[in-house]
C-alpha cells in the first residue's frame, strides 16, 4: 500500500514536535487496535503504522520501526506481538491485553462466522468455484510479497542471504521437512555466518 497515500491527512513534521501526545488509555488502546485490525485486509502492519505514527502520534516513525523490528525477529504473528509490546509500554500488562484483544477480538468474531458459513455452504458448487478463484489470486498476492521482500537482497547482492533463502525454500517447500528441525539447523547456521561476514566486513 502506498506510504505516501493522500489519506494520511496530517503532514508529519520531521522535526521533533514539542507537544507530546497524552499516553493512550485502555479503552483508547482497544479501540485503536480494533480499528487498525478491521481496516487491514491482507495485513495489518500498514494500518498499524498509520494509526500509531501518523494519526495518534503515539510513537515517532523511528520508534515504530524499532519496535516492529523487535517483533519481527521474535517468533509468532508479528502484529500481535507488536500490539502487546506497544500496549504494555504505555499501560503495563493491562495495556498489552487491551491492545491484544482489540486487535484479535473483532476479526476473530468475523472469521468464526465465515468459518461457520463455509462449514455449512462450502460444498455448494457456485461457492466452490468462487473460492477456487479467490484462492488462486490470494496465492499470487503471497508470491508477489515474497518477491518484494527478496528485492533488497538481490540489489545488495547478498549472496549468503540468498543461499540461506534458497536452502530453507527447498527444505520446507520441496522436501517438506518439519519446520522445527529445519529451524534448529538453519537459525544457528545463519546467525554464525552473518556474524562472521560482519566481522570480516568490519576488519
Amino acid at each position: 500500500m502506498p506510504p505516501d497515500s493522500p489519506s494520511a491527512a496530517v503532514p508529519a513534521p520531521d522535526l521533533p514536535s514539542p507537544v507530546p501526545t497524552a499516553p493512550p488509555g485502555l479503552v483508547e488502546l482497544f479501540v485503536a487496535f480494533a480499528k487498525m485490525s478491521l481496516a487491514g485486509f491482507g495485513g495489518v502492519l500498514v494500518w498499524a503504522r498509520r494509526g500509531i505514527v501518523d494519526q495518534h502520534r503515539w510513537m515517532t516513525a523511528d520508534e515504530f520501526n524499532e519496535t516492529y523490528a523487535l517483533c519481527h525477529f521474535l517468533p509468532g504473528p508479528n502484529v500481535v506481538n507488536l500490539s502487546v509490546v506497544f500496549g504494555s509500554r504505555f499501560r503495563g500488562i493491562p495495556g498489552g491485553i487491551a491492545a491484544f484483544t482489540g486487535l484479535l477480538g473483532p476479526p476473530v468474531v468475523i472469521v468464526t462466522v465465515l468459518a461457520a458459513l463455509y462449514a455449512h455452504f462450502g460444498q455448494i458448487d457456485v461457492l466452490r468455484r468462487i473460492l477456487a478463484g479467490v484462492s488462486c489470486a490470494a496465492v499470487g498476492l503471497l508470491i508477489s510479497a515474497v518477491f518484494r521482500m527478496m528485492m533488497p537482497l538481490i540489489r545488495r547482492r547478498d549472496l549468503v542471504g540468498l543461499v540461506v533463502l534458497a536452502a530453507v525454500f527447498v527444505a520446507i517447500g520441496l522436501l517438506r521437512l518439519p519446520l522445527p528441525s529445519v529451524l534448529l539447523v538453519a537459525i544457528p547456521l545463519s546467525i554464525a555466518v552473518t556474524f562472521v561476514m560482519r566481522r570480516r566486513a568490519a576488519a
Binding site: 491484544f100 468459518a115 468462487i130 478463484g133 525454500f169 552473518t194 556474524f195
Partner: protein, 177 residues
Amino acid sequence: MNPDANPILTLVWTFGLMSLFAVGGANAAIPEMHRIAVDVRHWMTDTQFADVFAISQMSPGPNVLIVTLIGYYVAGVAGALAATLAMCVPTAVLAYYVSRLLAHSGRSRWPAIVQAALVPLSIGLMGASGLILALSADRTWAAVMVTAASAVLAFATRLNPLWLLLAGGCLGFAGVI
C-alpha cells in the same frame, strides 16, 4: 499421540508449539500448518486448506487468523478460540518479556545480527508457503495463469489487493478456473 485425545487439547498443543517456531510471522508458518493439518492429522484436504487460506485473506485482521479457521474446522467455536489463543498468547508473552529485557539492557549489536540472519530465512519460508499453496490451489492451467497474473499485478502495481481477490472470485464464478 492418542488420536482419541480431546481435539481442543490437540489444537492447543499443536499451535502453541508451532507459534514458537513461526519465524517471520503467520504466513511463514503456512507450510507447517499444511503439513500438520493435511498430511499428519488429516483434518482437511488440500483443497479445503486452499479454501481456508482464501477466506483468511478475504477477511480483515492479521494473517494469523487462518488458524482460527482451521480450529473451527476441527472443533467448532471452541476450537477456533483455542487455536487462535494457542498461536498468539505464548509468543505475545515472550515478546513482552524480551522487549522489557532489551529496554533495560541498553544497546547491543546482537539484535541487529539476529535480525539480519533471520530475514532471508523467513523469506524462504514464505516462498515455500507460496509453492505449497499454489500446488493446492492451482489444479488447472487457467488457475496457474490467474495466480501468475495476480502475482505480476500485485508486484508491478499498487493496486489494492482486494481488487485482485475480487477479480479471482469473478473468474471462478464464471467457471474459468
